[in-house]
Symmetry: C2
Subunit: 278 residues, 2 copies
């Protein structure tokens, strides 16, 4: 295995995932992952360009940054690429009026969006708002449209809260895709447009950047497909390969299985696609 | 197009779907579909063997039959093949203890099943019980198992209630499959074992039987794969092909789109797989 120095050669920019990498969210507001406050501080003191690239869709970008600042992180709103603001841009560009199936905490991001007489559906990590009634309403809106359009803010399977693993938006997107026979447009990781937008803000090229995340599909696979290097941490949702289960690979659409340790798992060049080495 | 007499030549047994064919369910108990009470009566007075083959999983078999009797149907519990009793047989055979994500109305079917310390999950059309909390609990149970087993009572996309289209169990199965990276074992249509079990009760061979249903995948496709003939009614969830949308085909996994008329759509020989003719 190549030395760390060799693997990081030429890196000028770092994209950092937030949930599961910097902190674990929770009912109590969540808590920082050990060493992450200091790691961000060191990165920002270095010569590297740093940007935060998150699929967080339960909180507005402002609320998320305030929370992280309270937890001790050196972060500002302008440094964060998040799916809700990106979705609003797309809705405005395409003249679409969404029915929103989202968490109340992110609703303020859509304050300037016309939601009357909806001609598309936007689904995000709605948490407790994923009731049968709300899912059925989104389904009925889609079925009434001649050309149903469904935007998904990320497509993550699950994330880790301080209380345990929690279903993310992805399973609910799959549910609506199956019910309506359609495919959602994903805004957020692993969408290439989303990574490119974050990269653009750092001013570095893909081959000069590294993405650090806990999701082998959304973070590692997505970044690698854009020509970036990627590193998977062993915190957050990361689960090791078990004897009978399967580890997840960057392009894999199946779920990972196992337990969650807390070390760095793998650092990979963009061209390689082997499974994560232990 | 061949005449009806030719298409029905040699038919000795009829399998009838219930929801969307005999009646549309609803908060008020539902209502019979026009002509269906009389059609069942005529079938039962004929020389044909009749069996009811349903994926109903919100009600126990006894409650369903009582409801249909109140609506005027000539039907008894022993004439119905339903997924909950079939699932209980499988659980007992394999010594499995389920975590149940089901509707309260069907819970009595599982009265004799040990649900302590669960080593599998059973998911049915749970309706309002498909809360985020309940879905997350089923997800967590599966993720804790070394070899997660998920049974699904049917895999329908949606059904029609008197108030409109409603999400069925299928979308929620897809959600758990995606979240956990597993594949559910389907008990009910279109599982071949389920059709064979219903056929066995009639005492006729597959090539002598016809399945009548409103679901092109669960009813028509499933029956045809077992060597039966199948007929799709234009009631219940049936929706015609629209100009821009797609009609659903028997083996299709995508969703149908369009409006719901009320005539017979197609009668097909088992070997043919063309789309439904209008």
């Amino acid at each position: 295995m190549a030395a760390w120095g060799e693997r990081l050669a030429g890196v000028r920019g770092v994209l950092l995932d937030i949930s599961g990498v910097l902190y674990d969210s929770g009912e109590d507001g969540g808590r920082p992952i050990a060493g992450s406050v200091e790691a961000v501080a060191r990165l920002k003191q270095s010569r590297l360009k740093v940007r935060f690239c998150t699929n967080e869709s339960q909180k507005s970008r402002g609320d998320l940054v305030q929370l992280l600042q309270r937890l001790g992180f050196d972060i500002s709103e302008g440094e964060v690429t998040a799916p809700a603001p990106a979705t609003c841009l797309i809705l405005k560009e395409r003249g679409l009026r969404p029915h929103l199936l989202i968490h109340d905490g992110v609703r303020s991001e859509f304050d300037q969006i016309d939601t009357s007489n909806p001609n598309c559906v936007v689904i995000a990590d709605a948490g407790e708002n994923f009731s049968y009634q709300n899912m059925n309403k989104a389904f009925q809106v889609l079925m009434e449209l001649e050309n149903p359009v469904l935007f998904s803010l990320g497509k993550g399977r699950y994330y880790k809260e301080t209380s345990g693993l929690m279903l993310d938006v992805g399973p609910y997107v799959k549910a609506l895709e199956y019910a309506c026979g359609i495919e959602a447009e994903v805004v957020g990781k692993p969408s290439p447009e989303f990574f490119k937008s974050a990269l653009h803000e750092t001013g570095v090229e893909a081959h000069q950047a590294i993405m650090i995340g806990d999701d082998i599909v959304g973070d590692v696979g997505g970044a690698q497909r854009c020509g970036m290097r990627a590193l998977q941490v062993r915190t957050g949702k990361f689960r090791c390969q078990t004897q009978k289960g399967r580890g997840q690979q960057p392009g894999d659409t199946s779920g990972p299985r196992g337990k969650a340790p807390t070390e760095v798992c793998c650092l990979r060049q963009p061209s390689k696609t082997e499974p994560c080495r232990r």
